[in-house]
Amino acid sequence: MRRASVWAWFWFLLGFLYFFLPLFSTFEFSLRMLKGRYTFEAYRVAFTDPAFFRNFGYSLIWSVLTIAISLALVVPTAYWVHLRMPRLRPLVEFITLMPFVVPAVVLTFGLIRLYGSPPILLTPTPILLVAGYVVLSLPYMFRAVDTGLRSIDVRTLTEAAQSLGASGFVTLTRVIFPNLRVALLSGIFLTFAIVMGEFTFASLLYWPAFGPYMEEIGAMRAYTPQALSVVSFALTWFSIGVIQWLGRGVSGQQAQIAGAR
C-alpha cells in the first residue's frame, strides 16, 4: 500500500473534529453551570430531580417491553422463514423495512387517527407507544436474527434436535437460541439504545419518557440539558460498544436501512 497522502490525513482529521468537537463541547458546557469554574453542579442538579428518575424509569420499562415483544415476534418468524417458509422471505423483509417508508411521525399520525377515538380507543393505554417502538426495532432485530441464522446451519441443528425427540419449542429454546446468543444480544442492545433516547412517539402520544423529559428540560434550563446529553450519549456508546465487542470481526452491522426518528 502506498504512503498515506496529505489528503487522507486531512479528511480523517476533519472527520475526527466533526465527531469530537460536539461531544467535547457538550461535556465542557455541562461543567460550566457555576460561573468561572468547572464543576459537576449540572449533573448534581440533573440527578437530584425526581422527575429524572421517573422518566428514565418509564423509558426502561418501555424498552424492556419493546425488546420482549420484538423478540417474540421476530425470532419465530425469522426461524420459520429460514426453515420452512423461504417463500415468505421477501414479504417479511418488506415489512421490516416499512419503518423507513412510514417515518415515526407519520406512523404516530396514522395510529392516533385510527385508534385514538371510539370504537377502538387505545390512546389511554401504552399499546400504541410500545407498538411504535416495536416497529422501529423491526429492521434492527430482524437483521440481527437473520444474520445470526445465516451463520449457523439451522436445518441440520433442527433435524438433529428433532431426531433426538425434541419438540419445536424445545428445539427453539435449547438448541437455536443458545447458538444465536450474539445475534440476539446485538438486536436487544440496539433496540435498547433506540428506545431509551426516543422522542417522537413518546412526545406525540403523551407518555413520560427520557426523550421528552430531556427536551422539556432543554426548554427550561441551561447546562442541565447538556449533562443529560452526556448521559444519553454514554448510553448509546455503551450499547453500541457491547454490540461491537460481541460481534468482533463482523463489520458494518449497523449500516442498514432503518426508520428515521
Partner: protein, 308 residues
C-alpha cells in the same frame, strides 16, 4: 458449534401424537402458519391499517365523501409547498454532503494508506454516531455552535471572529444541515468502507497492465462499480433526513417548518384547520419515502453484481 446444551430426550407434552419422523421438512400444515401469524397480525394492525387509513382519509372531505381537494391543496397551499421544499432541500443537501464527506473519509482510511488503527476507530465511531440522533444531538450542537457554545467562544476570543455577526444563526437551514450531517456521513462510512474493501486488486492491476493510469482506473473501473452503492446510500441518507423529526424539533422548535414538524403540530392540534389536509401531507411523505425505497432496492441489486 457443538451441542453444549443437551436437549431433553423425553417427548414434550405438546408434541405427542406428532412424532418427529412424521414431520418431513417439506410438509406445510396449518400450525406452521401459527408461528408467523403474530408477526403478520402485528404488521397489519400497526403498520398497514394506519397507512391505509392515512391513504383513505386523504381522499375524504367533510362528511366522509370522496374528494381530491386535499391532494390539490397540497400543491396549491403555499405553507405546505414551502414545507415540502424545505424538507426536500435539507434532505438533498445533507444526503449529498454526507455521501461526499463519508466517501472521502472511508477512502482515506481504507485506501488512503492511513494506519489500520484509524480504520477500526472510524468504524466504531461511525457505528455510534449514526445512532446518535434526536434530542441529545440537538443539545450537543447548541453547546458547540450556539451563542455560548465552545466553538463560538473560541473563535471570538482567539480570532476575533463572531460567527453570528453576519446575521448567521445556527437555528436555520444551514445550522440544521450541519446537525443532520452528524448522523448522515457516519452511515455513508459504514456502508462505503466494506464496498471499497470489495474492490479487487486484480481490477486495478488489469487496468495498469492495459496502460491505464489511476485516473482511468477510477473513471472506467472503480467508480462505475461503486456508483450503485454511492447512489443507494445517498438515497438512504435522503430518507433519513426527510423523515427526521426529533432532531429538528429539539434544535429549532418550530422555526423551521419541515414537513415532519407540520405533521407533528397537526397531531397536537389541528393547525391546518383541516384534518383531511394532514392526512394528505402524511400520504405525500409516504409516497416520497416509497420512491426512495424503490430506488434504494434497485441500486442494491445493481451493486450486488460486482461487490460481495
Amino acid at each position: 458449534m457443538g451441542f453444549e446444551h443437551p436437549v431433553r430426550l423425553e417427548p414434550h407434552p405438546m408434541d405427542q401424537g406428532d412424532a418427529p419422523s412424521a414431520r418431513p421438512p417439506g410438509r406445510r400444515s396449518w400450525w406452521g402458519w401459527l408461528v408467523v401469524a403474530p408477526f403478520f397480525l402485528f404488521a397489519i394492525l400497526f403498520l398497514f391499517l394506519p397507512s391505509t387509513s392515512i391513504f383513505i382519509r386523504s381522499f375524504q372531505g367533510r362528511g366522509d365523501v370522496f374528494t381530491l381537494d386535499n391532494i390539490k391543496a397540497i400543491f396549491t397551499t403555499r405553507d405546505i409547498l414551502n414545507a415540502y421544499k424545505l424538507s426536500l432541500s435539507i434532505s438533498v443537501v445533507t444526503a449529498m454532503g454526507g455521501a461526499l464527506f463519508g466517501f472521502l473519509l472511508a477512502y482515506a482510511v481504507i485506501l488512503g494508506g492511513l494506519p489500520r488503527v484509524f480504520r477500526s476507530f472510524l468504524m466504531t465511531f461511525s457505528g455510534v454516531a449514526s445512532n446518535f440522533a434526536g434530542v441529545p444531538l440537538a443539545f450537543a450542537f447548541v453547546a458547540t455552535m450556539g451563542n455560548a457554545g465552545l466553538v463560538t467562544r473560541l473563535l471570538e476570543n482567539n480570532l476575533g471572529i463572531d460567527i453570528h455577526a453576519g446575521g448567521f444563526t445556527i437555528y436555520s437551514f444551514w445550522g440544521l444541515s450541519i446537525v443532520y450531517m452528524y448522523f448522515q456521513f457516519p452511515l455513508m462510512v459504514l456502508i462505503m468502507a466494506p464496498a471499497l474493501d470489495g474492490l479487487k486488486r486484480e481490477w486495478r492491476e488489469a487496468c495498469e497492465n492495459l496502460g491505464g493510469s489511476s485516473y482511468h482506473y477510477w473513471r472506467h473501473v472503480a467508480l462505475p462499480i461503486l456508483s450503485p452503492v454511492l447512489l443507494g446510500t445517498a438515497i438512504l441518507l435522503f430518507g433519513n433526513a426527510f423523515g427526521a423529526y426529533a432532531t429538528a424539533y429539539a434544535f429549532t422548535g418550530s422555526f423551521l417548518n419541515l414537513v415532519t414538524i407540520v405533521i407533528g403540530a397537526q397531531i397536537q392540534g389541528d393547525v391546518l384547520y383541516n384534518p383531511g389536509l394532514g392526512n394528505a401531507m402524511a400520504l405525500g411523505m409516504i409516497v416520497i419515502m416509497s420512491f426512495s425505497m424503490v430506488g434504494y432496492i434497485w441500486s442494491q441489486r445493481r451493486a450486488a453484481r460486482w461487490l460481495r
